[in-house]
């Protein structure tokens, strides 16, 4: 497990320029101790979602790191955020590798999100080991902008290896994982928990609640409620049947 990081959350009480300088230098030392050798000048990759960017330490993800997305079950729209991030990374150049061991990835939806079909490499490995190997290889490749995978089980050593691979290749590793992985140690730079929020009106946007569970060298715990543009509805809410409220009543709920 990575070392526990002192969180510099209350630095704003120290206001004098000298102490600010001191804090800056301490921050840098911590960052170097952590081995986060990312070049400072490089612009981070936006998540493609403004609300999410707000809670991220540098308003985006850094190249050469892993991001863990803990999804609260099927249908929670976490992947929409993941692929929006992949799209942003892809726009800056490179390809998106999708390690789709379960063979459930649906490319037309990603194309709809704005990733060109020729920019995607879909890998369908037959076993967990092959899948992680493929992910590792993809992360090591400098031509890869982002690699997406759904690793359910990830032991710390493999995790660490993936992180080093991402550091070497300079791409973004996007790992979608079940919510129960929350208790497991993580080598990811950022760990986010995604939960859907019930829709309140028929033509309303898709709303999600995102919590920043972990951020290497930065404050954690921030929560954002975001709206995503992707799942707006050209089809109307069912008109002939009873309204949802009526349905609920009829069911005695």
């Amino acid at each position: 497990m990575p070392p526990n990081v002192p969180v510099l959350q209350n630095v704003h009480v120290l206001q004098s320029p000298a102490s600010r300088e001191l804090i800056e230098s301490l921050r840098d030392r911590i960052a170097s101790l952590e081995g986060a050798r990312r070049p400072r000048e490089k612009k981070p990759i936006s998540s493609g979602c403004e609300g999410l960017d707000q809670i991220l330490p540098d308003h985006g993800f850094h190249r050469g790191t892993l991001v863990e997305w803990l999804a609260s079950g099927e249908g929670c729209s976490a992947e929409s955020l993941v692929f929006a991030t992949a799209r942003e990374a892809w726009r800056a150049g490179g390809a998106v590798v999708v390690c789709d061991q379960a063979q459930q990835f649906y490319p037309p939806a990603a194309v709809r999100l704005g990733i060109k079909p020729e920019g995607m490499i879909v890998v369908q490995a037959a076993s967990d080991a092959d899948n992680l190997w493929a992910l590792d290889q993809a992360l090591r490749c400098p031509g890869v902008a982002a690699a997406v995978a759904w690793p359910e089980k990830l032991d710390p050593r493999t995790f660490r290896r993936l992180q080093l691979a991402a550091e070497q290749g300079g791409g973004l590793g996007l790992l979608v994982r079940p919510a129960r992985a929350k208790s497991e140690p993580s080598w990811a730079e950022i760990r986010l928990a995604i939960e859907p929020m019930p829709t309140t009106e028929p033509h309303g946007p898709r709303r999600l609640r995102i919590q920043l569970l972990r951020s290497r060298g930065g404050p954690t715990g921030a929560v954002a409620e975001v709206e995503i543009e992707y799942e707006t509805h050209p089809l109307p809410c069912v008109s002939p049947g009873p309204s949802p409220a009526a349905c609920r009543r009829a069911a005695g709920a």
Binding site: C76, A109, P117, I121, A125, Q137, G143, P196, P234, C247
Partner: protein
């Protein structure tokens, strides 16, 4: 002798000037060619004409009706084609399909006549023979043909009536050039096709070897030798074939396909070693041979695929990544996406392997590769696209533009779910999935997707996007044929 210069060559050209005397006439020579190809199991079509262009045109597009052609009925001959060009007074011949052309898609079947396997245009009759043929017979680029068609010019005789100067400025110099070449006003040399050397190396071991490390060392030396051979010819390997010969006579053959031609010893050796690690060696090895069974020119141009990438090296690294992935996981596991215009969600895209064999034999080889049944079933060949599906939408808003959202996760096979709906044909109210009941709070739809019966198994489904009370979104459909409900995917 040469091969048509085209990305998908279909013709062999042969200069038969003066040769016919040795064979007892042009027809006899053509017959001989036909028989020789037939002996190799290839059905070809032979055309003899004054020029390369005319022979090509007649071989590809000539029908039996050409006023000046002679036919020879050969029982049982199928149609490939063979071109014979012979500029008068000199005479040439050239036979046909390279590799065995069965590519009927190139030519509508009605343009091919079984039986008219030999067409001969007598000297000086090229123009007469060409007149009734379509403009495609002039070996023109697709844009020019489309332009001509849009002006209503489909036959060469229509083209011939137009003033030459206007043709040149309207369609560019290419058209005039082809036209002159076909009529012999402009000389056209037959492109020379030098036979490629065989790239193969072999190493016989002094003692039978079982140690994998030793095998790996030998393999590396072989790769180095092979890559030297390749570099000398400016070629890169597209397919490596490695054969391990064992003491007991067994041969372990391993093939590795590559995405881009390469001669880099490091890369080739990596790929070969990956395969070696996975190979089982039944008995001690006595010899190892390595060959590049498919090569391509070593090019240093940017691949078109990742043209957006600002980093120039990116595509090279990606090519290597694809090779590595494909060599361990198999060609069929590293896929590229081709969207198809199909209303049925499972058929709206197709996966193709990134690593494919170049050229004509692509289709042959990939057809020979068994795909998992489920995938083969839902990935139709490209010709299925566009014929006869329709989407009916209840809602005028939806007809304005794009399809409703599609989920990022779609199940390979829809799962049957039990659904309660309040109205007989109404939207779902709650559904049960893996023992858990999901109360539906919101429903969007239905989006009706129907396909024509003539396309194979027809489907008629009403798709609903639903949101459960706790905010999760799923994609359900009701099969309109039997009213059963299925889960197709989730909006992940």
């Amino acid at each position: 002798m040469g091969v048509e210069e085209s990305p998908t060559p279909g013709c062999l050209f042969l200069d038969i000037t003066g040769l016919e005397r040795l064979f007892g006439g042009e027809m006899a020579l053509a017959g001989q060619i036909l028989r020789d190809f037939a002996a190799r199991g290839l059905a070809v079509r032979v055309a003899i004409a004054d020029t390369l262009g005319a022979a090509w045109a007649v071989a590809r597009f000539g029908t039996g009706q050409a006023p000046v052609s002679l036919f020879q009925e050969l029982p049982g001959s199928e149609c490939g084609e063979t071109v014979a060009a012979s500029p008068s007074p000199a005479r040439h011949t050239d036979p046909g399909p390279f590799p065995p052309s069965r590519d009927h898609s190139l030519h509508p079947p009605e343009q091919r006549r079984p039986g008219t396997a030999i067409v001969c245009i007598p000297p000086g009759q090229s123009l007469r023979a060409l007149k009734p043929l379509p403009v495609e017979a002039l070996r023109l680029p697709l844009e020019t043909i489309e332009k001509l068609h849009s002006l209503g010019i489909t036959r060469i005789e229509q083209l011939e009536r137009l003033p030459r100067e206007e043709l040149a400025c309207r369609f560019g110099p290419g058209l005039i050039q082809r036209w002159d070449q076909a009529l012999g006003r402009l000389a056209e040399p037959i492109p020379v096709w030098p036979p490629l050397p065989k790239f193969a190396v072999r190493h016989e071991l002094e003692h039978p070897v079982t140690n994998r490390e030793q095998v790996a060392i030998v393999l590396e030396q072989l790769v180095a030798r092979l890559s030297e051979q390749l570099v000398d010819c400016g070629c890169g390997a597209l397919q490596l074939e490695c054969r391990l010969e064992c003491q007991e006579g067994e041969v372990v053959a391993m093939g590795v396909g590559l995405f881009q031609p390469t001669a880099s010893p490091r890369h080739l050796s990596q790929l070969a070693q990956t395969r070696l690690e996975r190979a089982t060696i039944p008995s001690p090895l006595v010899a190892i041979s390595l060959g590049a069974s498919l090569v391509g020119p070593l090019e240093h141009r940017q691949e078109e695929l990742f043209v957006d990438a600002p980093m120039r090296n990116g595509s090279r690294f990606l090519a290597m990544l694809i090779d590595r992935l494909a060599s361990r996981l198999g060609r069929g596991a590293v896929l590229r996406v081709r969207p198809l215009p199909d209303a049925q969600p499972e058929l709206a895209y197709r996966y193709d392997p990134w690593v494919s064999m170049r050229g004509r034999d692509t289709a042959v080889r990939s057809a020979g590769r068994p795909f998992p049944a489920s995938r083969a079933r839902c990935h139709r060949p490209a010709r299925a696209q566009g014929d006869g599906q329709k989407v009916l939408r209840d809602d005028p808003v939806a007809t304005g533009g794009a399809l409703p959202p599609r989920p990022l996760r779609v199940l390979r096979r829809p799962i049957a779910v039990s659904v309660i709906s309040l109205a007989p044909h109404g939207p779902p109210f709650c559904f049960r999935l893996r023992g858990k009941e999901h109360r539906i709070a919101w429903t969007w739809g239905p989006e009706r997707i129907e396909t024509g019966w003539w396309r194979g198994p027809a489907i008629a489904r009403d798709y609903y996007r639903v949101e459960t009370a706790d905010g999760h979104r799923f994609w359900l459909f009701r099969d309109l044929k039997d009213g059963r409900w299925f889960l197709q995917g989730h909006f992940a």
